[in-house]
Symmetry: C2
């Protein structure tokens, strides 16, 4: 129950420079708290009010707890509870997470178990309903779960759910109104016409963009040029800016047109090693400040506007009645978090990091995930001969094969064709500059294996296997030779999930992901460290991409162009259909 306002405040933080949202500035003040909420921001200090406890602020900056309204916990490969502890260090006290990765693994139960695990977190975790699971269709990719309209209707009743998560099939939904998500949105527009629906629509413009927004999907967080950005603001979208959108021209455009109340900062995907080395929403704020935005303005867009977008009107500013979520900072421009409070309780102190954060128990991290999550990779041990490509005819001398061409700077691939020699019915891809890719269906459904070839700015030697593979998260194995591929695959299978890099018969780096094959049961820094080792190993083996892990894990993402791979083999993403690996055979 909310305290009576006639009670004595529980806590006062004296002598801070408090951030004021309406005035977007810092003011010297004493800030009183009562029963987990702010009680009074006293800038007059004419007479001291008695409080049960006093914390000396030492003239530090006091900012509202940061609010990230578009992010995926699974990208950190941590459980919600573990990630939340790390977020407290970054000053983040509220997130709206979209758990479509776990939904691909385990359907509606996957989402419910993410919600359940998040309840043990020291920060508030709200959720968006995943709206595109599977990312495409069951005849193109096998997933562990499917979220249909009925599941969405069920999920929306959970008080932790505050929006429909990013609607990603933006090309289809503006044409085809018989999708599960279309049916659900139609129903929703009747029952709750003001419900928040988040979008994802890279490059969409003009009337097509309007069609998307017309469906009630009025935010976007993908990358744009200035014309696309302008159209989004103009057609009434709330723009969510993540790191890759932070360019000086974007900041200048917003400033020139005073678009301040129509956008906020988000993180989308932050991997464990980035989280360890750079931080989270605090990192995005630092980047914005570096690009010339004032710290005050940057904080506003990581708190006030985001809270408003999600109708979380009980937080996002330091003012009476709002949840007492805040951080104390010595260095404002550097966004160095000294301490973070949630509901008036200190959940992080930099000088006591070991005690408050590292001391978490394994049980807290994954207890809410039942035993079956730890047995989700239903693939028997793999022998090297599973990575032998055979032709239909023994007298074939050459084949023209489809190749996924990877380019640095993008998760999109391009299609290319290559002639490969064939000996005794076996395709000799090994010295062609291509690597073999095999996708093993791992949910115990069809046992299907899809094959493909990859080249370009990809790794050159050894092999890698991963069950963290957007969005279907089957077991993806890529490599230059059968033995290393089998070793990587079997390591992941035996750990029941993970990312393993091998070379010359040796495991070079390995991050086990035993929870649903996509999450670790380790602490944040351990996950960060192991992921960094995986990244370094991939780079050492020749991966030339700016983010090799992202590049590797999206080789299987059928929502992104142009040719990707699933347990059904190569998929032409644009056409939405499978492509035969071997296009032509030259026979003797």
């Amino acid at each position: 129950m909310k305290a009576r306002c006639s009670e004595k405040p529980d806590l006062v933080i004296r002598n801070v420079q408090v951030f004021n949202t309406a005035f977007r500035g810092f003011y010297p003040a004493d800030v009183y708290l009562l029963n987990g909420r702010f009680y009074y921001v006293d800038i007059k200090k004419e007479h001291l009010i008695e409080a049960s406890e006093t914390v000396e602020g030492h003239d530090r900056y006091m900012i509202p707890g940061l609010i990230d309204i578009h992010m995926h916990i699974e990208s950190s490969m941590m459980t919600p509870a573990v990630m939340a502890r790390r977020l407290a260090e970054c000053g983040v006290t509220t997130i709206v997470a979209e758990p479509h990765e776990m939904a691909n693994v385990n359907g509606i139960r996957g989402i419910q178990d993410m919600i359940g695990n998040g309840k043990e977190a020291p920060i508030d975790i709200f959720y968006g309903i995943p709206s595109c699971v599977p990312a495409t269709r069951p005849d193109l990719e096998t997933t562990g779960g499917i979220i249909d309209a009925a599941s969405m209707t069920e999920l929306i009743k959970d008080p932790a759910v505050v929006c429909v998560g990013e609607v990603m099939n933006y090309r289809e939904i503006i044409k085809d109104n018989d999708l599960e998500i279309s049916r659900f949105l139609n129903e929703l527009s009747e029952k709750d016409p003001r419900y928040t629906v988040e979008g994802h629509c890279p490059a969409l413009k003009d009337e097509e963009l309007a069609k998307f927004i017309y469906l009630g999907i009025d935010s976007d967080h993908t990358e744009h040029d200035i014309e696309e950005l302008k159209q989004r603001f103009f057609q009434g979208m709330y723009v969510e800016l993540q790191e890759k959108m932070l360019k000086r021209e974007v900041i200048d455009f917003i400033d020139k047109h005073s678009l301040y109340d129509h956008f906020g900062f988000v993180t989308d995907d932050v991997m464990a090693d980035t989280l360890m080395e750079k931080g989270h929403l605090d990192h995005v704020i630092r980047l914005a400040i570096g690009l010339g935005m004032s710290p005050e303005q940057a904080i506003y867009h990581a708190t006030c506007t985001n809270a408003r977008r999600m109708k979380l009107t009980d937080r996002g500013q330091i003012s009476p009645g709002k949840l007492a979520d805040f951080s104390l900072l010595t260095d404002l421009r550097g966004v160095v978090i000294d301490a973070t409070y949630k509901n008036g309780r200190c959940i992080y102190r930099r000088d006591e990091k070991t005690a408050s954060i590292q001391g978490s128990q394994l049980s807290e991290k994954c207890d809410t995930f039942s035993k079956d999550y730890f047995y989700s990779v239903k693939v028997p041990p793999v022998k090297p001969d599973r990575f032998v490509l055979k032709t239909d005819h023994s007298d074939t001398s050459q084949v023209l094969a489809e190749v996924m061409e990877v380019s640095d700077g993008s998760t999109k691939t391009t299609r290319s064709l290559v002639w490969l020699p064939v000996e005794e019915g076996i395709v000799r891809w090994q010295h062609s500059g291509c690597l073999l890719t095999a996708v093993f269906e791992r949910y115990g459904k069809s046992g299907r294996v899809g094959y493909g070839l990859v080249s370009g700015d990809f790794m050159k030697e050894g092999a890698v296997a991963t069950t963290y593979a957007h969005d279907h998260h089957n077991l993806v194995v890529v490599g230059s030779n059968e033995e290393d591929m089998a070793l990587a695959a079997n390591s992941v299978i035996s750990a029941q999930g993970g990312i393993c890099v091998t070379k010359d018969g040796v495991i070079k780096a390995f991050l086990p992901l035993p929870i649903g094959g996509i999450l670790s049961d380790l602490d944040a820094d351990e996950v960060g460290k192991k992921l960094k080792e995986v990244r370094d190993a991939l780079i050492a083996q020749g991966y030339r991409h700016y983010n090799p892990i992202m590049s590797l894990c999206t080789l299987s993402l059928l929502a992104s162009p142009a040719i990707k791979i699933s347990d059904f083999g190569l998929i032409d993403v644009t056409a939405g259909e499978p492509v035969p690996l071997i296009r032509e055979e030259l026979r003797l």
Copy 2:
């Protein structure tokens, strides 16, 4: 059901200067509508999109339908349906009304019947739950209904209800947590911690203001000096500016500190004749423009910020997917409304006013109010001797009497004392400069009559009787002689409600208010005309107040200082207790 976005637009408004919310500016465009919502704002016009119907915009300004989030329909003395028709002429397409007047007359049923009647309106009427009915306590004023915590819990379930209406007992609620509204707010903070709660807290400052906001009440629309205004913004309130707050220093303060996204314009109380002569929220916008605010900025605060405050995120801007609520204007600075559309349908055209607005049927206006609303003044005909003041002792020669002193410019009164002669046990107040006031309990409860005296900037001759009397709405009669008082009272009783001005045995002006004694069954302009006659008659009879109707009807408002009147007689508002009319008797 929301239309599919692949359908042909229903309507296009070609060649308009469309208001864009994010950019706060006008842009030449064609605006497409589909199924009651905006479909596309085309500023490129590279190729025409086919629509079922075309309206030529003639380069007029197209602005979003105005949204008034703090107002009382009963102040217009019209039914919701009738007032809504008038509002369409003013460009207002959404209101959030707070029906505490009708709640005082008929409790929860009064509110439900207001909601029911509003459903026939051409605009959207949402409601705030009245939180202070009665305004004070049942032992200080008799009302027709009481809204307790249980009633509020019931009302909040209605989909038309979007907030808790202004919490007005701001001095008590910060001290006493056992009020009905305190109990309800406590319950609400558990069940729906982000529910919108509107406030009313004139002059409240510093820690006391914080205590009020701490309870979750975070808006205010009362009048303030700059220091009070600053505190409201600083402590996180949404500020609602009405006409009386519109001063150049206020506009300058907002501009200087860029407080644009934290306030909106509202009307609160607009009477029928003002509505006829000056308009509604359009009038407030005109005033703001007159004080130097740009029309673009002024429109923003009568649409976007207000929609956001009430979480009405399906409206308030001209962009895809939002409700197609808008007006077309030739004269932007003058805010001259040529036409208004709601859900894509034209509900008002200035050049066809007679046909579209005046053609309303009586049945639409008041059918939803059942027969008992037309028999709400349960007072038998009054004889002149009811206005004779007697003393307890026949040998009294003079009495010292309490007087409510009315001052121009305010609805507050001050206390004064006057010696009056007594003849044969009868107080001769007639030539003292005071008028007699009698309040007849009219709900068929106690039949109590309270007496008082009034002087100052009040009327001087004749009499007036009204059942429109904030907040208890009993029958209030004030006059200079018994005969005119009886005539006025009996006219109102026989019409079962209204405001009647008499002089020299003649009815000078009369606005019948037969619905619950506070609403007319006439059309907007007729109500306006008759109310104007009442106002003119009061002025002709010596009323010197800038708003004599407001002054008259708040003589009974126990929520406003310092001495007011109810069926219990004179009430010391500050002390919250009755005051004897006769303080002292001088006996022979």
